[in-house]
């Protein structure tokens, strides 16, 4: 076919696009239907959280850090509180630790349910979105019962949690996770063996484990490539070493496995919540933290396992009541960094599937 002149053309995907999970602009250089180069442009959701936090006291920073990643905002609060507690040497009471774990794991389940719905919706199956959000409503009701908020909770504070759970929480929580455990069978039955789902996801977007680690990809996207690295196991924080759960791992590294890993993680989170509810002790819910919270000078980097990967907070304190520097690290940042590497060579439809399966959330990228 010599002599046929073909040209590459540039297609702009976003920033407003139904399947870029927030405002992200991808400039695709395409050769016919195949994607040859991807260049992400971010910053549409940049809210200068780090700069704002330099002018707020630690307690005032907590609700702002909530918005760092609003889908799992309990984790954002947790990572910041962990860092501040390490700086000040505060010991969190037992009951607060258990409550924190329950809330974190419930938030992880809610986030994975959103992932399930949104991934299916991106690939054309419009109904699982409604099913996933219906189950998430039960979890959100629990959160609203506890802290009054549905999305940005401001619940996990420095030293503990802000309020105690009401007495309806435990029975309703058990009922909610029982229902989710049953409905998971429905979700798996709907999509797992569906030939269209398999043909869209299996073999698409292969992420080799060494590439993933080199780019800093963590969380379920890393575990789907066969690397058994979970911060709850390998660098335990809070009281995760007391719970008995498995780390969900799959070995093929394609979009289908990333989807399966997250469904497995929902099951493991349900186990942890069950154990935590069983072992919930009585006691204070917050350590004594002075209103004039002034941690000593020093720097600390604390990290937790978020549903999107490793979430980290680096705080440099100079001894005053405002943090001198806060640097936040989100898992989606690295996952977006790896999209230009694994997204090339396929069609736009594959790029949509890859983007959805990596579970990238733009507020974490832009801060």
């Amino acid at each position: 076919m010599g002599g046929l002149r073909t040209e590459e053309f540039i297609v702009n995907m976003g920033p407003q696009h139904p399947s870029t999970h927030g405002v992200c602009r991808l400039m695709l250089t395409m050769d016919g239907e195949k994607v040859v180069k991807i260049e992400p442009f971010i910053g549409y959701l940049h809210r200068a959280i780090e700069k704002i936090c330099e002018n707020r006291t630690y307690a005032q920073c907590v609700p702002i850090i909530d918005r760092f990643e609003y889908v799992t905002s309990m984790s954002c609060n947790q990572v910041f509180s962990l860092a501040a507690e390490k700086l000040a040497g505060i010991e969190v009471p037992e009951r607060a630790e258990y409550l924190r774990v329950i809330m974190l794991e419930l938030n992880r389940i809610a986030s994975h349910l959103i992932f399930y719905g949104v991934t299916a919706m991106d690939l054309g199956a419009l109904t699982p979105f409604l099913y996933g959000l219906r189950e998430r409503e039960m979890i959100i009701d629990l959160f609203e019962m506890t802290c009054g908020q549905r999305l940005t909770y401001n619940y996990i504070r420095i030293g503990g949690v802000s309020r105690d759970i009401p007495k309806e929480f435990v029975p309703q929580c058990r009922k909610a996770i029982e229902t989710i455990r049953d409905k998971l069978n429905d979700y798996e039955g709907l999509l797992n063996e569906n030939p269209i789902w398999l043909v869209r996801n299996k073999g698409v977007g292969y992420l080799a484990p060494d590439v993933a680690i080199a780019y800093g990809v963590s969380g379920p996207s890393l575990r789907a490539s066969g690397v058994k690295y979970d911060l709850r196991r390998d660098d335990p924080y809070s009281i995760y070493d007391r719970f008995d759960f498995d780390v969900a791992v799959r070995y093929n590294g394609d979009c289908y496995d990333r989807y399966l890993v997250r469904l497995d993680e929902i099951k493991q989170s349900i186990r942890i919540v069950d154990q935590a509810l069983d072992g919930l002790p009585e006691g204070p819910i917050r350590a004594k933290v002075s209103p004039n919270f002034k941690p000593p000078a020093g720097e600390v980097y604390s990290r937790i396992e978020n549903s999107r990967g490793e979430m980290g907070a680096y705080i440099l304190s100079d001894g005053s009541k405002k943090p001198f520097r806060v640097k936040l690290r989100g898992g989606s940042y690295n996952q977006l960094e790896v999209v230009p590497v694994i997204g090339v060579g396929g069609l736009i439809a594959d790029l949509v599937a890859i983007f959805a399966s990596l579970d990238v959330i733009m507020p974490e990228v832009d801060r």
């Binding site: 971010i42 910053g43 940049h46 200068a48 780090e50 700069k51 390490k86 700086l87 040497g89 680690i213 080199a214 780019y215 800093g216 990809v217 963590s218 690397v227 690295y229 390998d234 660098d235 000593p296 020093g298 720097e299 600390v300 980097y301 990290r303 490793e310 980290g312 680096y314 440099l316 001198f324 520097r325 640097k327 690290r329 940042y333 690295n334 960094e337 832009d366 801060r367």
Partner: protein, 156 residues
């Protein structure tokens, strides 16, 4: 390897190149000089007992007198974590890019260039990232950056 063993090992292997700063009861923080950065990073990644293959974080800090670039790395194989920083002068701050060693550092370096003005050599793609493409009003995360009363909207 526990925390203390790691401290001893690093003190032995990287004598002279990584100096331990006094951090009290917090996690150890090392200082690496600017010219040694690339070889220290390579050694940290390739050393048999350390194998720091996972890049966690790179943040810039403006302490008023100088800039610092704080690196956090981890090892997925040996389950370790390490922080180190590079001290830089305020004017003409320059560091080498570590993206051949940890490709994930690419975007982090772009960000510290954009928000602090620390130049990163051999990066290849220092373009506007979080801020609008035609931003010309300074490096926002510096301590002496004054937020103007009105920010000009980007051209559409």
């Amino acid at each position: 390897m526990t925390g203390d063993e790691l401290k001893d090992y690093v003190a032995r292997q990287f004598e002279g190149r990584m100096t331990l700063l006094d951090t009290g009861r917090f996690d150890p923080m090392y200082e690496v000089k600017v010219p040694d950065l690339l070889e220290v990073a390579k050694a940290l990644r390739d050393d048999e007992n350390l194998k720091f293959d996972f890049f966690c974080n790179l943040g810039g800090v403006d302490t008023g007198e100088r800039f610092e670039a704080v690196y956090s790395i981890a090892s997925t194989i040996n389950k370790l974590r390490l922080d180190f920083k590079v001290m830089l002068p305020r004017d003409g701050a320059e560091i080498e890019s570590v993206q051949e060693i940890w490709p994930g550092a690419n975007w982090y370096e772009r960000e510290i260039w954009e928000l602090f003005g620390i130049n990163v050599k051999n990066h290849g793609n220092l373009k506007r990232f979080l801020l609008p493409d035609d931003w010309d009003q300074g490096h926002p995360l510096r301590k002496d950056w004054d937020a103007p009363d009105f920010i000009r909207m980007p051209e559409l």
